[in-house]
């Protein structure tokens, strides 16, 4: 048989052998590649496969509630849904954006912005595109469950506060953890976690927050859940019981009204904060979801500073309230005889300069105090007397006693961002202004003007502590607080008696600056203060302007010695004297305290310990809060260092 082409039978056996070696080498190389992946790097790829396969979906733990001292709910949670967008498959997301935009009423541009701003987060992590879904949104998602694979609902619980900022500055508000907070949390916080941003929410975040649960599910390559592996239930945050008394708080809120200012009511025996108000205030409910940028900017730029918790952050001249410090210094120091009197013609001249007494500007009644002893001077708040005492004591003595009584220091209250105020001294001017102290400055400081500033909570602690004989309890807001810090600056019985006599007189003796505040049957005592924002002379020159109006202070307490309640009230720019503007608020709160106490003692049998815990017998839901003492002391030390949240 022949073919049309030539072919012979000499085969290149060597070259064929070379080809077989190449085949063996090639297979060998491929096997080496498999060996590297499957044996050497097997663990690494095993983990990557696991990450592909298993997704952890958080189950948000509800935050703990906040109760008042009688177990009444102050801060609660409400259920809510967030709409999540699964971003695993960008093409799929892009395809459904118009439908989602229609269904949820979010513009496509807005959705794009959200995708853009989260592009650095891992792809498998869904993003919240609508934090608070309406029932229409939920219907939309439910009915399109099958055909829109990129939407998911997340059940969350949101904070519910008493409306209109009631107790708002004390409770604070929550928000999504900032990057700084996430970094500082050592992995405990993830982006999107809701944490306390201010106030008690921030202070006791660790207790309130609880631990989110986790659902481990198997997902396929387009992110759809195909199986459920395990579930770790969330541990709800712990409920905390506050020292706040809802009744007193209500009275304090109403009595201060809309005026800018603050109320702090303490029980000086324990340091418990019974009421705390700061106005103006935003409504923390508005922050429970997400604060719109515009809103946040407005709050920050508002000249009234609604984000400032005035109770612990307003640093203002205490005015005549400080005269209690000057008086205490005079009595304790003994360099000035107790019988010391001055004559007040409405002004006094010190170091060649004339200092007016407030009475000089008085529109009704006399424009001078005449001869005054210490008792009269406290009663009538005579500036000339305290100018003179201040001059005689000197700034060293004044600032020593101010310092010992707590001025210029944080009280250590368990709220973040407390301010320390300022007790000026020679060292202070040297350090800050690099100059000598002018003797004339002492005159102003002696009556609580000049460089001296205090916060309301400092003044409440100070007056309560002096009336308790020099025992200062750390103000705090957690009912079950353990190891409450206590500072002692023992004052002689004589000093305490004289000073408290004076403060009793302010309200209960004729001529006292708080005469109109008298409460029958209660040893209601206190001291008014009217602090100038600018000097009277300057103000007269510039004309009457609201922002230059005096700040009114009143710090009142009862009973006269070892008080059960002390209330400091600041009313800013009221244009009224302390006794007129702030005094009635103090009176209302003190009265409410006694009304409640009397109701309890009359209406119940188990009154054995009613003195120390006025509400212990209230039949309310038992606020069982298991807070470990060590955990608590940890948060308390933290309190002093709390920095304002930069958000």
């Amino acid at each position: 048989m022949s073919y049309s082409f030539h072919s012979d039978n000499r085969l290149p056996q060597t070259r064929l052998a070379v080809v077989s070696y190449i085949i063996v080498g090639m297979i060998g190389l491929l096997l080496l590649g498999f060996w590297k992946l499957q044996v050497i790097d097997s663990d690494k790829y095993g983990q990557m496969a696991e990450q592909n396969r298993v997704r952890s979906i958080p189950i948000i733990a509800p935050r703990g509630r906040m109760l008042d001292r009688d177990g009444r709910v102050l801060v609660d949670n409400r259920p809510s849904f967030s709409v999540l967008l699964l971003r695993d498959d960008p093409k799929l997301v892009e395809q459904y954006l118009p439908v989602i935009s229609d269904g949820l009423g979010i513009s496509v541009d807005d959705l794009h912005d959200q995708l853009q701003s989260t592009r650095n987060l891992p792809k498998f992590q869904p993003i919240v595109i609508k934090p608070e879904a309406s029932s229409a949104d939920l219907d939309f998602i439910e009915s399109h469950r099958a055909d829109i694979p990129v939407l998911e609902m997340l059940s969350v619980s949101r904070r519910r506060y008493i409306p209109d900022g009631f107790l708002g500055h004390a409770t604070g508000y929550v928000g999504e953890a900032s990057e700084q907070q996430i970094e500082a949390s050592n992995g405990k916080l993830r982006p999107g976690d809701v944490v306390g941003k201010s106030g008690l929410e921030r202070q006791y975040n660790d207790i309130l927050m609880g631990t989110d649960g986790m659902r481990r599910v198997i997902v396929n390559s387009v992110g759809k859940e195909v199986d459920h592996l395990s579930q770790q239930d969330p541990i709800p945050g712990k409920q905390v019981t506050l020292t706040i008394d809802l009744d007193l708080q209500t009275v304090a809120e109403q009595s201060l009204g809309a005026r800018p200012g603050a109320v702090v009511a303490l029980d000086p025996r324990t340091g418990e904060v019974l009421a705390m108000v700061s106005r103006p205030t935003p409504d923390p409910n508005d922050f429970a979801v997400r604060i719109p940028k515009e809103e946040w900017r407005k709050l920050n730029e508002d000249p009234l500073h609604p984000l400032l918790n005035r109770a612990i952050q307003a640093q203002l001249a205490p005015g005549s309230v400080f005269k209690i410090v000057t008086a205490t210094a005079m009595l304790e120091d003994h360099s000035i005889p107790e019988s010391f009197t001055t004559y007040c013609p409405g002004y006094g001249t010190f170091y060649g300069r004339q200092f007016k007494c407030w009475v000089y500007w008085s529109k009704k009644g006399p424009t001078s105090h005449g001869a005054a002893s210490l008792h009269d001077a406290i009663l009538k708040s005579c500036d000339v007397f305290f100018y003179t005492v201040g001059m005689k004591l000197g700034i060293d003595r004044l600032s020593f006693y101010g310092d010992k009584l707590g001025l210029g220091h944080k009280t250590g209250i368990d709220l973040p961002s407390e301010e320390s105020g300022l007790m000026p001294s020679e060292q202070w001017v040297e350090r800050v202004f690099h100059r000598k102290w002018y003797a004339g400055e002492t005159i102003s400081v002696a009556i609580g003007q000049g460089a001296i500033t205090t916060t309301p909570v400092q003044l409440a602690r100070l007056i309560g502590g002096i009336a308790s004989g020099g025992v200062f309890k750390q103000p705090h807001m957690l009912k079950d607080a353990q190891n409450v810090a206590e500072e002692k600056f023992p004052l002689s019985e004589h000093t305490v008696e004289r000073v408290t006599d004076g403060m009793y007189g302010v309200i209960n003796e004729p001529g006292g600056t708080g005469g109109q505040l008298k409460l029958t049957g209660i040893e209601f005592s206190g001291k008014s203060g009217t602090a100038q924002v600018i000097g009277y002379d300057t103000r007269n020159r510039l004309g009457k302007q609201k922002k230059f109006e005096d700040n009114a202070w009143f710090v009142g307490y009862a009973p006269k010695r070892n008080p059960e309640i002390v209330v400091a009230v600041l009313v800013q720019e009221s244009g009224q004297h302390g006794g007129e503007a702030a005094g009635p608020v103090v009176r209302d709160v003190v009265k409410a305290y006694y009304d409640k106490k009397n109701r309890k003692t009359q209406g119940t049998v188990t009154t054995a310990d009613h003195g120390s815990t006025p509400a212990s017998d209230a039949a309310v839901v038992a606020p069982v809060v298991a807070i470990k003492p060590e955990g608590l002391s940890a948060v308390q030390t933290h309190a002093a260092e709390g920095k304002p949240d930069p958000q």
Binding site: M1, F5, S7, G33, F34, W35, Y45
Partner: protein, 368 residues
């Protein structure tokens, strides 16, 4: 002359190896698809395989010399078909590769591979000297170059590339001088380098091809594109470990992380579920298949038969190399299936027809 080889003359070892590889493929296709909307795909594959075995036996009965005689006509048919597919063919995934024939879509380039094997065998068999001179090599190059250009035009880079090793192995066995072999190897290396070098590659490659090369070099930059495919394939292979996750238990496979897990990336699915031991078995079988082909070439009656068998070996070897290297992330995604294991009609038929040619040569090794 009577030409009636008996059944004992068939290479039963080769058939056994073939059947074993097909079995692995069917098992893995079943595992990869049974739980999805592609369930039942393994049955279709079995039908293709049976059809393939039948065609193999049919093709083995026709004397290969008769086939080689018709090389010119086959070549013209091949070029016409490739041209036709460019004009008439249906586009899928952006490429014109299929032609509708007898109720099936056929990938014409698979047929083209077979015809080029035949044409090259005929050409090299007729080279009369023991050494291949450059003029003959140039002719062979042109024979391959025209269909290669047509296939590239589809575009189907993978199949076009398969023609290159067929030419290379043929030329080598036809007596290409060692120094020429060296020069061409160097040129090949340079070309591969150019492909991977963006300033040059943008002139010679299509956008999607460049994209595949970029994602091969930097898979992390393309987390959902073909870099993602390679990464997921590597994860599948690596996570299989030595013993594998077991049949039907590969999470990468079952949850669809492996791209086209029943076809181009079937080795990835196999490696995940069967582990390194399974890979050893599969690659061992492929090595046995290829060495068995070389052995058949060594025992061929004449050079023509040897060139036919080695053309088949070159094509299959290249398929295995490129596909498996892709699965372990050592080569970019080219769209070359794994012979006999990957699901696919045209590709399966090509392999069986090619093996039919090998069988044909074997049956006639003692015939004079």
């Amino acid at each position: 002359m009577k030409d009636a080889p008996g059944t004992r003359d068939y290479d039963w070892w080769l058939i056994a190896i073939l059947a074993a590889i097909c079995a692995l493929g069917v098992i893995e296709i079943y595992s990869a698809t049974h739980a999805s909307n592609l369930a039942g795909m393994h049955i279709k594959q079995i039908k293709w395989l049976l059809f393939g075995f039948a065609i193999m036996f049919v093709l083995s009965r026709v004397d290969y010399h008769l086939i080689l005689d018709q090389a010119l006509i086959l070549y013209i048919v091949c070029l016409a078909a490739l041209a036709a597919v460019l004009v008439l063919g249906g586009a899928r995934f952006g490429a014109k590769r299929w032609i509708h024939f007898l109720g099936q879509d056929f990938q014409v380039s698979e047929l083209a591979k077979l015809i080029i094997i035949i044409v090259l065998a005929r050409f090299f068999a007729e080279v009369r000297s023991d050494e291949l001179d450059l003029r003959d090599l140039l002719k062979a190059g042109m024979l391959v170059g025209v269909p290669l250009a047509l296939i590239l035009k589809q575009p189907d880079l993978g199949t076009a590339l398969v023609l290159v090793p067929m030419l290379a192995v043929g030329a080598f066995l036809a007596g290409l001088k060692w120094q020429h072999a060296g020069i061409f190897t160097l040129a090949g290396v340079l070309l591969v380098g150019a492909v991977f070098y963006p300033p040059v590659s943008k002139h010679i490659l299509k956008a999607y091809q460049r994209e595949r090369i970029t994602s091969f070099l930097h898979p992390e930059e393309d987390a959902k594109g073909s870099g993602y495919q390679l990464l997921q394939s590597k994860i599948a292979v690596g996570s299989g470990g030595f013993w594998g996750k077991g049949f039907g238990n590969g999470s990468q496979n079952q949850l669809g992380y492996i791209p086209v897990r029943y076809s181009d990336f079937i080795m990835s699915a196999w490696a995940e579920e069967q582990g390194f031991k399974g890979v050893l078995l599969a690659l061992g079988l492929y090595m046995a298949l290829l060495l068995r082909l070389v052995q058949n070439a060594q025992r061929a009656k004449d050079r023509a038969g040897m060139f036919l068998v080695m053309g088949v070996a070159a094509a299959l070897g290249f398929h295995v190399l490129v596909n498996v290297a892709m699965v372990i992330g050592a080569m970019p995604v080219t769209g070359i299936p794994l012979p006999l294991m990957s699901y696919g009609g045209s590709a399966t038929l090509f392999v069986f027809m090619a093996i039919g040619l090998v069988m044909n040569v074997r049956l006639r090794r003692f015939v004079n």
